[in-house]
Symmetry: C2
Subunit: 339 residues, 2 copies
């Protein structure tokens, strides 16, 4: 399977590393022969129809800053859009950074890939939070797939779980801790009795959040994930603007400690129920499976007949997200085989 | 899809109820048209190639004690084996009670179904714990499927999760709370400060355990589930006798409370690691996602690259287990479509 990789940051590099390590197992277990025929970053691209050497790719990126320095097949200045249009491949893996204003440049990359008949696997929340229903329609019209397991729960297969493991059931509601950074902050506050400011500094120190943490703190990252999850799993057609959002910015240590004395923990909960989507801090009984600690994510699916099922796991990280991309690639491969 | 249902106890009746309620949705969403052509219980069978009426079936069973009183098509005294052999169907759903000595009568039912070219969906742990590898071989040889989602985690798709959602990963170890009754007892002890005897009485009162609770308390039920899970997910060929088993029968309230003071909770943990299988009470940090309360089940899969993922949910119950049977039936249907 020929792959064009757009964006070569943490997730992209983790992906090529993981493909390198797992290649034999993927061939043996899934008959999956990935061939990376192009990688694009801001400096240009490396392109080879025979497949790029993943070790060289990583080395060139680290040493010279752009894959366009790849010996022999590097092309400086070429745009992702040109590569997506002109290079033959079965799949475009889109891993550029999330932009929730207009989804760019990921939005254009994904649309162009779908229009040119290429399947898409993406870890980019922006385009999906803004326009998942339209992108699904576009994929269907062009008879290709769009997959995005890595956008929710990172390495924890939240989306796959709901889609693959709850067949024949009806999902009545979704409630989840969808952002590891805010959960880390809340855990620090409740366990170390520190104010939010201090907990936030600690999160920055540990690399759990960006210099500007507002996407996390204000609940926007959680809302993006909630939109993606609810649309895909419950068949809704919601956008980011439809979510009622309240972040954790106004929570005080006093709020947290008062709840704790009553046996409750405050968690930033994204919830989809009766077609209404919301993100807000909620007190939960401390034994609720959603009361996970640190940077973990957790999502509870309430089903009509067989109760609540919760999935818990690491919510972010390069390797974790790359493992989600590989799961998606295996699914795309299985779908291609059926044709 | 024509279904022979063997055993018409709690799970069987929940299954026909759930099929009745969900029939339109199953048709619409999965193109799944189930037709129950025979039901067998200890008194005989009801057989109709056109499909039995599920409401009549339930009513006859409750009012007269056996489906053999089904008007017109009831057959008193006929054996399950004869029905499995002689009635045309795509699937046999085996729901007779678990027997861990020799797996009977389920073992013979399942073998006969596979040999006669029928797919099998079962909720019976006995045959699988004693001989899963051999039954898998037999299914493969006869080009049919055997599925058993309901045997582990009840309504919580533990088995499906590992098989369907962790593609491309390697599962390094499995650790889980696999028995709801013992977990209820441990929770009662740690929260209500009562001795095991008292907690056990409460479990009996609430209908969480049989009159003879030794299968639960001695860890045997957990061991059966561990064998099934580990064989299927990790590709092992273990039997019940290969599991090192220690139950909770010797735990005292003092043990539980001492651990609690150190921030730990004792859970009866089934673990598969390095091809070694064990069931024993273990102290876990109280924030471990496996420290679930009450009758919940929880299983953590440690993966090679993307960390630990835990799934939590109700472990037992008629409707819950029936929902697992329906998931399996949908998978069998999908597999039949591919042929």
């Amino acid at each position: 399977m020929r792959i064009i990789l757009v964006g070569y940051g943490t997730v992209g590099r983790s992906l090529t590393d993981l493909l390198k390590i797992q290649i034999n197992k993927l061939r043996r277990t899934h008959g999956f022969y990935p061939r990376v025929v192009a990688v694009v970053d801001r400096g240009g691209a490396a392109i080879s129809s025979e497949g790029l050497d993943l070790e060289t790719l990583h080395r060139v990126k680290v040493e010279k800053g752009s894959v366009s320095f790849y010996p022999g097949v590097g092309v400086a200045g070429i745009s992702a859009l040109d590569v997506i249009r002109e290079i033959d491949a079965e799949v475009v893996v889109e891993t550029t950074p999330t932009n929730i204003v207009n989804g760019e440049p990921g939005m254009t990359h994904i649309k162009e890939a779908l229009i040119s008949g290429k399947n898409v696997v993406t870890t980019n929340k922006g385009p999906l939070a803004l326009a998942l229903p339209a992108l699904m329609d576009l994929a269907e019209y062009n008879n290709v797939l769009i997959r995005f397991s890595g956008t929710v729960g990172g390495g924890t297969p939240v989306i796959d779980f709901a889609k693959e493991c709850l067949n024949g059931e009806e999902i009545v509601s979704i409630r989840g801790v969808l952002n590891g950074t805010t959960n880390f902050i809340l855990t620090e506050m409740e366990e170390k009795h520190v104010a939010m400011k201090q907990a936030l500094s600690r999160a920055k120190e540990l690399g759990y959040t960006e210099e500007d943490p507002s996407m996390d703190i204000k609940g926007i990252d959680s809302a993006c994930k909630l939109v993606i999850l609810a649309n895909w799993v419950m068949g809704l057609r919601k956008k980011l603007e439809d979510v009622e959002i309240e972040g954790i910015e106004n929570l005080t240590l006093k709020n947290v400690e008062e709840r704790k004395r009553r046996g409750e923990l405050i968690r930033l909960i994204g919830e989809a129920r009766d077609e209404e989507l919301s993100v807000k801090p909620l007190p939960l009984p401390k034994h609720d499976p959603l009361c996970v600690k640190g940077t973990l994510n957790a999502v509870t699916f309430q089903t009509k007949f067989s109760g609540e099922k919760t999935i818990v796991g690491p919510g972010a990280g390069g390797v974790e997200t790359a493992s989600a991309v590989i799961r998606d690639l295996i699914r795309v491969k299985a779908a291609l085989m059926k044709r």
